[in-house]
Amino acid sequence: MARDRNPADLVGADPGPPFEITFDGSAVTALPGQSVAAALWGAGILAWRTTRNGGRPRGAFCGIGQCYDCLATVNGEPNRRACLVPARPGDTVTTQEGHGHAGLAV
């Protein structure tokens, strides 16, 4: 069984034109319809948050918006669930550090 198979070939994907987002300043290629988390996984990036006590790296865990482990700072806004937020051309994604409470101010 060939090992060069990939998910896009499996479903016969013919995506729209790829575009770029950045993660901590580096360019990442995303496909239209992918979430921020999917785009990062596609680039081999699995962690985009550090915990507020241990400073440990985290990324997508439940993949369906339930665990909130994949919180990222997207275009300056913290606490975005990367597994739900669609990637858009030019998005700036940065590692979310600490409590991310900036977005909770009322």
Binding site: P7, F61, C62, G65
Partner: protein, 536 residues
């Protein structure tokens, strides 16, 4: 507020949407809907279509942009997938259901994250409150009013922690499948699949078909549990066929299935590099000296599914214990909960797969129409009786599967004191054992108050099952692999995981500003649950 149902609230200043997204459908009709369905998976779609075809006005609210729920999650149109069925069983049956749904005139409200449902306030009208947007962040609050409610909120994955489970690259088994189905991505190239339940076989065969190498599928149960209930097995031929398909796919990809085994540790510093797989005894206690290391760059893990019931439990709906130790809604023969006017279908009433979900959804749709249109004969029709029989048959099979994969009480023996159990608040097993021992906590809620376990963003969805087990053990068990205190007497009866507290007044995090924006209803300030039927 007569005459103005389901209007969007005026967004307050700090909660302007930060980016444009497809805004919610117009809130029509101006009269309340006959039925509001929460969840656009197979159960919700079937219920909505059925009710609509029987003459009801129906709205479906769902967090996702597309219908299908988790099971039929599929790539966004932009990915141009010509063969989405390559990642799905029964895809053509889903597209047929979706076609009926789209032609039916049901109002579809995607990107609606429902955070509470309020019971009728003397006027017979329920109110469903939602936050809008892809991740409910900065979206406009919305509310939808309806005469009846169908909850089809599905399930999420149960996790039993082990050392290293917070490492990047360790992901939910269902999560790996969800990311693959929707985003066409894999977390790694060499992925161990572990945990318990029939989902693991499906995940492993999807990952392998998509090009990952799956060095092992690690299942904590045996499959002997099925053999003890031949009658129910014979009733579930479709499921068996599905298992056979997955089994042959695994054979083709040369993936070994290790039963009565578990991943007892994930290794790595900034991401997973290997896992230790250990044999388990019948109580799921690791057998000393059996650990074997398997190199991998990702681990997909999960221990069955937990029905998503908090919208209903907040309303005081009765629940039942499932054979694998979760709590599901207690429903009558026509899918109605203990709170009149609120029906449920699919995993909300107990995990059972998509075929059961659509069957229950259709039956609920008929029952709602019968109630609202004053036509009780609808529920005695040949169609309704056939659906009920099918539901009973599939439910019986689901119960056999749940029992076969129920976690054993000994699993906490693989959980050392220094492992984080609550991922959000970084609370260790040792802290929880301390609260359960010296401080006397015996349930997840008390542990939460003492340790913050379950108090974070996910509100205990990820750690709830584990916290409940540790609390029930009363702090015994050092979790050093010696099994001390982790024996059958330390768990609960029948060797199953005790339920976690599924009480979440707000089903999703809600900005205080959104609460403050709620219009007063009949003189009452906004939520949470102070409704007459709430018992807590």
């Amino acid at each position: 507020m007569p005459g103005s149902p389901s209007e969007p609230h005026e967004p307050s200043e700090p909660y302007e949407p930060s980016e444009p997204y497809e805004s919610a459908a117009p809130y029509e009709p101006s009269e309340p809907y006959d039925l509001a369905v929460i969840g656009a998976g197979p159960a919700g779609l079937a219920g909505a279509v059925t009710a609509c075809e029987l003459g009801l006005s129906v709205a479906v609210l769902d967090a996702a942009p597309q219908t299908g729920g988790q099971y039929f999650r599929h790539p966004a149109p932009g990915l141009g997938a010509a063969r989405p069925q390559a990642l799905h069983h029964d895809w053509s049956e889903f597209t047929a259901l979706r076609g009926r749904f789209e032609a039916s005139g049901v109002t579809h409200l995607p990107h609606h994250h429902v955070w509470t449902v309020r019971p009728p306030d003397g006027d017979g009208i329920w109110t469903v409150h939602a936050l809008t947007g892809p991740d409910a962040h900065g979206g406009t609050p919305a509310r939808v009013r309806a005469r009846t409610i169908l909850l089809a909120t599905g399930a999420y994955e149960r996790q039993l922690p082990f050392p290293g489970w917070t490492l990047p690259g360790v992901i939910g088994a269902g999560g790996a499948q969800a990311m693959l189905k929707s985003g066409l991505v894999l977390p790694g190239r060499r992925i161990v699949v572990a945990g318990s339940g029939p989902l693991l076989l499906a995940v492993a065969s999807s990952l392998a078909a998509a090009g990952a190498r799956v060095p092992a599928v690690v299942e904590a149960s045996g499959y002997l549990g099925y053999a003890r209930r031949p009658y129910a097995l014979a009733a579930g031929p479709h499921k068996l066929l599905e298992a056979a398909v997955h089994g042959s796919a695994l054979l083709r990809h040369r993936t070994p299935l290790r039963t009565r085994s578990a991943v007892t540790e994930a290794h790595g510093t900034d991401r997973v590099e290997a896992v230790t797989v250990s044999r388990l005894d019948r109580a799921w206690r690791p057998v000393p000296g059996t650990g074997r290391r398997i190199a991998c760059d990702a681990l997909a893990v999960g221990h069955g599914l937990v029905p998503q019931t908090e919208l209903a439990t907040g309303l005081g709906c009765a629940t039942r214990r499932t054979p694998d130790g979760t709590h599901a809604l207690a429903l009558d023969a026509l899918q109605e909960s203990s709170v009149p006017g609120l029906w449920a279908a699919g995993e909300t009433g107990g995990t059972g797969g998509w075929d059961l979900a659509r069957t229950e959804g259709e039956l609920a749709g008929i029952a709602v129409a019968a109630r609202l249109r004053g036509l009780p004969a609808l529920t005695r029709s040949r169609r309704a009786r056939a659906l009920a029989r099918r539901r009973d048959r599939l439910r019986a099979f689901a119960d056999v599967m749940a029992a076969a994969h129920a976690p054993g009480p000994g699993w906490t023996a693989w959980l050392p004191d220094d492992t984080d159990v609550c991922r959000c608040e970084e609370v260790t097993a040792g802290s929880i054992r301390g609260a359960a021992g010296a401080l006397g906590a015996r349930d997840a809620r008390t542990v939460k108050l003492l340790t913050r376990a379950g108090m974070g963003w996910c509100q205990g969805r990820m750690c709830g099952a584990a916290v409940a087990c540790l609390a029930a053990e009363g702090g015994r068990g050092g979790g050093r692999g010696d099994g001390a205190g982790g024996g059958a007497e330390g768990g609960t009866a029948q060797g199953t995981v005790p339920p976690s507290a599924e009480r979440r007044p707000l089903a999703v995090p809600v900005p205080l500003g959104a609460l403050a924006d709620l219009p007063e209803e009949s003189g009452r300030p906004g939520p949470p649950t102070d409704g007459p039927t709430a018992d807590g």
